[in-house]
Amino acid sequence: MTISPASFNFLTAGAVACGLFLAALLNVMIDPFELYMVFEKNGINAQKPELAFHGRLTKAVAIERKQPTSIVLGSSRAALGINPLLIRTNPSECVYNCGLDSATMYEARRYFEHALVNQPHLRCVVIGLDYQMFDQSKRPPEEFVESRLCRTSMTSKDLLDTLLSIDACQASLSTFASNLMHPLADQSYFNANGQRNELAYLQSPLIGRWRSSIGAERSVPAKLAYSAAAMDDLRRVVETCRARGIQLQLFVSPSHAVEWESLRANGQWDNFCKWKNELAQIFPFWDFSGYSSITTEPLSDHMKFYVDASHYRDIVGGFIIAKLFSRESAAPRDFGRHCDGTNLGAINAQIEEARRTWLESQPDMRHCIASLRLPEDAEQLFGVAGRKRVAQIMVAPGLQKLKSDTGK
């Protein structure tokens, strides 16, 4: 049907404008990245599974909005295990967990600086340090955008990207569909205080979790030194905190003993100890690495302290905070040692001793970890697991390496 050129122009421009408006409306209302917060309803948009892929964006904007006075920094371990509410001094204090999945120390510093720009009266900073954050071959992912940090409002690019893009529309539709199908499930990737949702993570299969967490060590090539630039990033955070009177607490994450074994199998243990030594020269920290009654929890389908080899659960996070702030808790005495730069040698010796004791007191475990020759041996790691599942775990490169080393 032929129409006049004027009608053609009007119709075309009008349709495009309406389409863009509807797209923006959809993305504001469903708000898959938790940026606009204008509407929230169970069954429509209360759960935000898409946050799993956009944590750096969401957390940068959340810091601008919440202006927290106390923050938690670190990788996914801190993001998952540390409840920031535990570090607040009064119920009205705004706290936030800025931990980022697979974070580098550089990113942690930049998010610290971002928090400082938005909250000049920052009171307390807790940093969960992981060796992987200092890996010199590791670069921030594409999702990390420098220009969105150290400012007090969203960039125009982020606004356009999250309102007027196919990606945002797809995220909105997938969020809506997910809410519609599972209105009561707790699927948000992280909570309003920035802590990752443990329940959502526990929904994924146990085998997958353990495999990927041990496999993570593969990304650290053997004999590779940690990054001096990343150490400088930490120094800058420490100096800023000292200069501005911000309370700073550092700790090395308590991964499960299996992960420490995996680290050893990859030839990284000595570098890991050197790294801790340099940390101690920069600032005192709590060392939760090694072998304690927490980190040597027997592996099973339903573990109290761990969701995988790398990530500890909320309860362990509570113990950590209690130790950092010298509070009463049920944390076992052998969990964590305060390191001030003079006692690291003794701490490392204690770790070696604890490892020996652990391997001796757990003949089955020792057998599994020391030989790992056959899936049947490793089956004992999980007790209830079938042979096939254990065989899958054996694929994890850390264990493969361990197997080949010990098999000689």
Binding site: M1, T2, I3, S4, P5, A6, S7, F8, N9, L11, T12, A13, A15, V16, G19, L20, A23, F33, A52, F53, H54, G55, R56, L57, S75, S76, D101, S102, Q132, P141, E142, E143, V145, K157, L160, D161, T162, L164, S165, I166, D167, A168, C169, A171, S212, S213, G215, A216, S219, S310
Partner: protein
């Protein structure tokens, strides 16, 4: 500022259009033309205001030289001297910005040479505005034109639709349009056609080219470790990316011109349908081909001094054309290849040899793809590695489809494509490339689309859909895939 950005579509373009037609409606023609000049400068300065001075100096100096040449046409020697001086100055500026780094890098290959390579930023669009102005100077010298009035000339050089990526405009076809009073009256018909052409161009760029670029990038970034399948996917993805990117941008320029009642030349005419390289160069980057023919090939002697000299001229023209595209040996080889292709093609015609059309098309397409590998590669060894992988017949003969075709034993998991490190699009990229091959024949050229266009409801829906999906695809929310710790 890019055409495929919200800044351009939602802010810059409406302001320019409203300002231009508002002034024109009030019969302020000079002001309207001035508005186009100012807004084109703003368009250019948005990228880097420092190079605005270079652009303005270039326009001023070339216009001045044009005047000098026109005034001395009676004294041919003087006119010739001015023309040579002006063209040399243009080429010297182009050489300085575009080729200094390349020259130093090449010199450093000599034993004992360690020259520091200067970091010179290439001013946006310098290759285009240098060529358009050289054409102007040469035509003034040839006495083909009298000099233009300054504002019309300045708008011709800076006119934002063509300023940064062509098409290469010819003054004779553009400047007179700025002086046609009818062109200052808003035309709903032209605007509708412009909107449609712009939408098609935007969709080509955003929906097709931008989506397949990464498939090629990863292959060319790992040129020494790709296998046969990956190398072909990379080469074909780039072949289509370049076409849809460049032709899309040219189409957008044509559409923008139409919105302002200015007809810009068509730059692409389904080049991958060509059945010979001669045919290809009549359809690919048509305005550059015309420039190289009129201002390089013919002045070099063209075909006036025998067949051998013709081939030499063709190869020389294409070598320089290659270097015009970029400062590097890969572009040089690309130009040399196309020069050799053209010479072979002319010889073939002279011998009156005929090829069956599908064979001719296949040979032309493959020759073009091989040349694009050099065009895209960062270094010559990368191009050779990719071509080596593409034509690794041992790998091809061990591949599943061919083994099946030849009734040889096949792997036990026939339907599974082996794990490919650099085939990031997976099976999707294979299907997409098949569709893109089909698109060569399905998507009509913009010339045909424009001829067919009528302001109908159907066209309005298509135009709006293309614009909407393209605009929504211009923004990306980067994802973090938590696969590793």
């Amino acid at each position: 500022m890019l055409f495929n950005s919200y800044q351009f579509i939602a802010i810059y373009l409406p302001i320019v259009l409203v300002g231009f037609f508002f002034l024109a409606r009030r019969r302020m023609i000079g002001m309207a033309l001035g508005w186009l000049f100012i807004s084109s400068l703003a368009f250019y300065a948005y990228w880097d205001p420092r190079y605005l001075i270079l652009l303005l100096v270039s326009i001023f100096a070339n216009y001045l030289f044009g005047n000098l040449i026109a005034r001395h046409l009676e004294q041919r020697e003087k006119a010739r001297l001015f023309m040579i001086l002006a063209v040399s100055a243009n080429l010297a500026a182009l050489a300085y910005f575009k080729y200094t780094g390349f020259a130093f890098r090449t010199l450093n290959h000599l034993p004992g040479a360690h020259f520091p390579v200067p970091e010179i930023v290439l001013p946006l669009g310098i290759s285009f505005f240098t060529f358009t102005q050289i054409a102007y100077l040469v035509d003034v010298y040839r006495g083909e034109i009298t000099n233009y009035e300054p504002l019309g000339y300045a708008v011709f050089v800076t006119f934002f639709p063509h300023l940064i990526a062509g098409p290469i405009l010819h003054h004779k076809s553009i400047i007179p349009q700025f002086h046609r009073l009818r062109n200052y009256v808003f035309s709903g018909k032209n605007f509708a056609l412009g909107l449609f052409v712009f939408a098609v161009g935007l969709a080509k760029k955003v929906l097709i080219a931008d989506n397949i670029g990464s498939w090629a990038n990863v292959v060319f970034d790992h040129a020494n470790s790709v296998n046969t399948l990956e190398a072909w996917v990379g080469a074909l993805a780039y072949t289509f990316q370049l076409f849809y990117d460049f032709s899309g941008y040219s189409d957008m320029a044509v559409g923008l011109g139409l919105m302002l009642n200015i007809c810009l030349p068509i730059n692409f005419d389904v080049p991958y349908q060509s059945t010979s390289i001669i045919d290809f160069w009549r359809r690919w980057h048509i305005t550059l081909s015309a420039f190289l023919r009129d201002y390089l090939y013919i002045p070099l002697g063209g075909n006036r001094f025998g067949e051998f000299r013709r081939y030499v001229n063709l190869i020389a023209t294409m070598l320089l054309g290659g270097l015009w595209h970029g400062a590097g040996w890969t572009f040089f080889v690309w130009g040399a290849l196309h020069g050799a292709y053209l010479a072979t093609n002319h010889l073939w015609r002279r011998l009156k040899l005929q090829l069956y059309a599908p064979v001719a098309w296949t040979a032309t397409f493959l020759a073009t793809v091989v040349a694009w590998v050099f065009f895209r590669a960062q270094r010559l060894p990368d191009a050779l590695n990719i071509l080596g992988a593409m034509f690794n017949f041992q790998a091809v003969f061990s591949s599943y489809p061919l083994r099946l075709f030849l009734l040889l034993p096949v792997p036990s998991t026939p339907l599974a494509i082996p794990h490919e490190n650099y085939l990031i699009g997976g099976k999707k990229s294979l299907i997409a490339l098949v569709l893109l091959m089909a698109s060569i024949w399905i998507i009509p050229s913009i010339r045909v689309s424009m001829a067919r266009f009528k302001p109908t409801l159907g066209y309005a829906v298509i135009t709006a859909a293309l614009l909407l999906f393209s605009m929504l695809s211009m923004n990306r929310v980067a994802q973090f895939l938590y696969f590793q710790f």
